[in-house]
């Protein structure tokens, strides 16, 4: 398999208070990679300075149940795509591997 198809799903589950975690995660992303916010990470989607808090230009998803559980459904930045558990599993299939940042 050529290296270029070995894309990664990055999964992060902490708030942006852990700024270095977001930096390390985003520094590890390459063309084709995607970022999924789960658990406490969904709060990142209501940051005033969204783009500096999540320093990446690659696609960002957030897990729908985690957003709803935290009362954020109406507050999330519109650039973030909400997905359900099935789509989470599907993202894991599409990408060659996943990396969890916690």
């Amino acid at each position: 398999m050529p290296t270029t198809t070995k894309t990664t799903l990055h999964i992060i589950n902490k708030t942006t208070t852990n700024a270095r975690l977001y930096q390390d995660c985003c520094d590890s992303m390459l063309e084709g990679d995607e970022l999924l916010l789960i658990e406490s990470a969904v709060y990142a989607g209501c940051e005033q300075n969204f783009h500096s808090a999540i320093p990446t230009s690659f696609p960002i998803y957030a897990l729908e149940v985690d957003v709803a559980a935290r009362g954020l459904t109406d507050k999330l930045n519109k650039e973030i795509q909400l997905i359900d558990d099935n789509q989470f599993v599907n993202l894991c299939c599409i990408h060659h591997k996943s990396i969890s940042w916690f």
Binding site: Q48, A68, K75
Partner: protein, 121 residues
């Protein structure tokens, strides 16, 4: 009287992130029974605990909002948040679960100085 010692509890975690929040609220209730005056400071990510419309059941986690609302019955009524935390997450106009006083950055240190004991889990 020993019980005149004042206690500040600092919460720093968002909802559903470990047991720190629950453990802190349990201290609040436990200490108020002993007539220790308790104040709560929701610092940093802890402001998120105060959001309405949380649906903890969809992730099968414990809902702390009944405990938060019970604080009033225990005469725990002094709740504080930081202005900068509300701004960071654009929550300035949000109706929160508790009636909180807002502190500016420069008021924080003087606010903390008045207490005799601080627990910061």
């Amino acid at each position: 009287m020993n019980t005149q010692k004042s206690l500040l509890l600092i919460l720093r975690n968002p909802s559903f992130a470990g047991s720190n929040n629950r453990d802190t609220l349990d201290i609040a209730l436990g200490c108020s029974v002993f007539d220790i005056p308790v104040s709560l400071l929701f610092l940093n990510d802890a402001v998120f605990q105060l959001l309405n419309n949380q649906e903890s059941q969809v992730i099968e986690q414990k809902d702390l909002s009944p405990t938060l609302k019970a604080l009033d019955m225990y005469d725990i009524q002094d709740h504080y948040i930081l202005e900068k935390d509300l701004q960071r997450y654009q929550l300035e106009d949000e109706a929160l679960l508790l009636n909180c006083k807002t502190l500016t950055d420069s008021q924080l240190a003087l606010f903390i100085r008045q207490f005799d004991i601080v627990i910061n889990l």
